[in-house]
């Protein structure tokens, strides 16, 4: 059976969403459950595998059954021996195509044919090349450990919020890293529009299919790591508010106006059952789905065992080639990874939906309430931390302004050190440079706590400008 790939752009609450359906996919990239492993010693554990071709890549073990509320124990699979050449070629060709200027759907077509059947959302988003816990992603999964942020529904997202996954899981071992490839990639990344291709796996984490050296180079060069993201849409969700029915334009139905689609007219409808299906970053009401795509979701599974799953699982008992490597990353990369937001920060950024300037001013004045309501938390320090997380994620300019205002206020000295460490990653920002320069030069005692961070910032900024 040949692979049938269809793509469609739909409008969801004014937001344009690209959907791609795959039917008869080759099942060469995906995840599946292998249940309990005899090595786990407990029948209640559930292990899922991320696989590419016939290779198991990452083991994801949940010690509390298949609970979606638990973080997973993750590690490079012992059976990983390297990609199939065919898969490698498809990934490389998709990556080159995207950077030639092709659209997401056209560029990723080859990859879609390798996926499991289903409906996928495709978009671009910036990723932090870390494991979500301050460790550079490549090499962070060599030992089995619990990775915070890998639960499908954590304490923030279980409330039904959408969130953008932003942490990485490698699909190449450290043995694949070469300093020569990195040197040439450092030149290329400045011109690339897409630095990586990722496939969402669990919670805030996605598997990096292509662009490992680019991630190192981008971190080194302070370039946002922009990825083409593929997310499967299969989770049902329910909202209490009556959804809107998208009534298609009559002309469009007749095929007379295909070049200029008119946004559907929302009509409130009363419905029983679920509201729609979602991926981590997008919720799509049933009425907004093209009919054939809805049928694929309803008649399909969220995960399929590939026909060759026994070949994959048989490799789990083998020992990984190149399990030991002498490759190391520079301290600069590792330190920068440590300063990137971690899963806890990102979660708390999703915990609030908005922060007005008035509310920020109240926080700067040392208050935790505005108009008789708690702004974020009754705890001041916690409020500052959450506000920083939220602003860093949503509005970088306000984040910088807010951080400078905090560090300039001697009454908030308890938070100075934390905030100064948080802004260290913004080492190309001139406003921060000027602030830190004047703080370091002033010798004022109120800046005492931010001086170590300020000196590091100034050193990096000046070194960066000398290059």
């Amino acid at each position: 059976m040949s692979v049938e790939i269809k793509s469609e752009t739909i409008d969801v609450k004014g937001q344009s969403v690209i959907l791609v359906s795959v039917r008869g996919g080759e099942n060469a990239i995906g995840t599946f459950s292998i249940g309990s492993n005899s090595r786990d010693g407990v029948l209640g554990t559930e292990t899922r595998l991320l696989y590419i071709g016939t290779d198991p890549i990452i083991n994801m073990t949940c010690s509390s059954g298949a609970s979606k509320k638990s973080d997973k124990l993750m590690s490079f699979s012992p059976g990983f021996h390297g990609y199939d050449q065919k898969v490698f070629d498809v990934l490389t060709s998709a990556f080159l195509s995207l950077n030639r200027g092709d659209s997401l759907t056209a560029g990723l077509k080859g990859i879609f044919s390798l996926l499991q059947d289903g409906v996928y959302a495709v978009y671009t988003s910036d990723y932090y090349p870390t494991d979500g816990n301050g460790t550079f992603f490549w090499g962070a999964y060599n030992t089995n450990h619990e990775v915070h942020g890998t639960a499908e529904h954590n304490r923030i997202t279980m409330s039904g919020n959408v969130y953008k996954p932003c942490f990485l899981i490698p699909t190449q071992s450290m043995g694949y890293f070469t300093a020569r490839a990195l040197a040439s990639t450092e030149e290329f990344v400045k011109k690339r529009r897409i630095h990586g291709i990722v496939y969402h796996v669990s919670g805030f984490h996605s598997a990096l299919l292509k662009g490992h050296h680019g991630a190192v180079a981008c971190t080194k060069e302070n370039i946002p790591y922009k990825c083409a993201v593929i997310e499967k849409i299969s989770d049902p969700y329910t909202e209490k508010i009556a959804p809107v029915q998208m009534v298609e334009n009559q002309e469009e139905e007749n095929g007379e106006n295909q070049s200029a689609p008119v946004p559907p007219t929302p009509v409130p409808v009363e419905r029983e059952g679920i509201t729609g299906f979602r991926s981590p970053s997008i919720k799509i009401p049933i009425e907004a789905f093209p009919k054939d795509m809805l049928n694929i979701i309803v008649n399909g599974l969220s995960e399929y065992k590939p026909p060759h799953f026994e070949v994959i699982t048989a490799k789990l008992d083998s020992v990984r080639k190149k399990a030991v490597t002498n490759n190391i990353f520079s301290n600069e990369v590792l330190e920068k990874a440590e300063q990137m937001p971690d899963a806890g920060m990102v979660e708390s950024a999703y915990a609030i939906s908005s922060l007005s300037d008035e509310e920020l001013n109240r926080l700067l004045a040392g208050d935790v309430e505005f108009n008789g309501k708690v702004i974020i938390s009754p705890n001041f320090y916690s409020s500052i931390v959450t506000a920083c997380n939220f602003l860093q994620f949503t509005d970088m300019k306000r984040f910088i302004d807010f951080s400078i205002a905090i560090m300039d206020n001697p009454d908030l000295s308890a938070t100075h050190e934390y905030v100064a460490q948080r802004v260290l990653s913004q080492e190309k920002n001139t406003k921060l440079y000027n602030f830190f320069k004047s703080a370091a030069a002033s010798g004022d005692a109120k800046y005492e706590k931010i001086l170590p961070a300020a000196n590091t910032f100034l050193k990096r900024y000046e070194a960066d400008n000398r290059r």
Binding site: G35, S38, E46, P236, E272, G273, I274, V298, N299, G300
Partner: protein, 290 residues
């Protein structure tokens, strides 16, 4: 999760103009409506499965959905739908009503590889063999009781004859003989009745469970056992041994018990003859024999 890879079941009820899909979600396509009503399993309040139909009751739904087994394309589809329901019941814990079953519910299974040292057999559960196995069990329990009853009847008959006829040297042998025969006949009668009851029991639960007429895959391994319809079984699902208490072995099958209720009937003829010893060893190592 065990049975997580079962393909959704599509059921078309032409009379009602409705198509149901039982899978990752429960979808209802009604003739004339533009979009289906879709329910997630966490919205399911209760489900009842009988030999004739299955009825779903969802929170917030205006009516219950009752699907007759007759509208399914095949018995395999019914069994797959039941397996999907039981798999989901394990996750979401909704109320599940069902008739008597002769094999473990799918909610008892865990997804675990049976490993290399496992025995896999296949076959249809023979009604006569099952009845015979139950009778062996019954005989085991009844034997002492039968002897006691026969002895009591003999003594009573002996007393009655002595009282009515009076014991003389001429009739004492007749009285003893008649007493013995009466006791024997009484014991035989009880034996026949209990056997008839056992056969009726097997017949009744065979009728209640669709799986009784289907080919069953039997797996015995150190990690657990399986007795599951072959059309549904996925080769990596097992019931752990701690879900059972003990087993009884007859000449034709192993019966695994949980408390007083049989959990699974495992016929010996499902396995090649040379494997029976190995199967018996694993079961005996895992469970107490009674």
């Amino acid at each position: 999760m065990a049975f997580c890879d079962l393909r959704p079941v599509r059921v078309g009820d032409d009379k009602a103009g409705t198509t149901y899909i039982i899978g990752e979600v429960f979808a209802v396509y009604t003739f004339g409506s533009q979009f289906p009503a879709i329910y997630s399993w966490d919205m399911l309040k209760s489900v009842s499965v009988t030999r004739k139909d299955m009825t779903f009751s969802f929170v917030g739904a205006k009516k219950n959905f009752s699907i007759s087994n007759k509208v399914f394309n095949s018995a395999e589809d019914v069994l797959r739908a039941i397996a999907i329901i039981e798999h989901r019941q394990k996750i979401y814990g909704f109320e599940y009503q069902h008739e008597r079953r002769i094999f473990p519910l799918k909610s008892m299974y865990y997804e675990v590889s049976p490993g290399k040292d496992s025995y896999v057999g296949e076959g249809v559960l023979d009604e006569a063999d099952t009845a015979a196995a139950l009778i062996v069990l019954l005989d085991f329990k009844l034997m002492k009781f039968l002897w006691l009853m026969a002895l009591l009847v003999m003594l009573v008959m002996f007393g009655i004859l002595n009282y009515v006829l009076g014991m003389t040297r001429d009739n004492i042998l007749y009285i003893i003989l008649i007493s013995l025969v009466t006791g024997g006949i009484f014991a035989l009668l009880i034996y026949i009745i209990t056997h008839a009851v056992a056969r009726a029991r097997v017949k009744s639960f065979s009728g209640a469970d669709l799986a009784a007429k289907e080919t069953i895959t039997f797996v015995i391994s150190r990690a657990g056992f399986a007795a599951c319809e072959s059309c549904v079984y996925q080769n990596h699902d097992l019931v752990p041994w701690d879900a059972a208490d003990y087993f009884v072995e007859s000449d034709k099958m192993f019966i695994i018990f949980k408390g007083k209720t049989p959990l699974a009937y495992i016929p010996k003829k499902a396995f090649p003859k040379k494997q029976i010893g190995g199967v018996a060893d694993i079961i005996a190592l895992s469970l107490e024999q009674r």
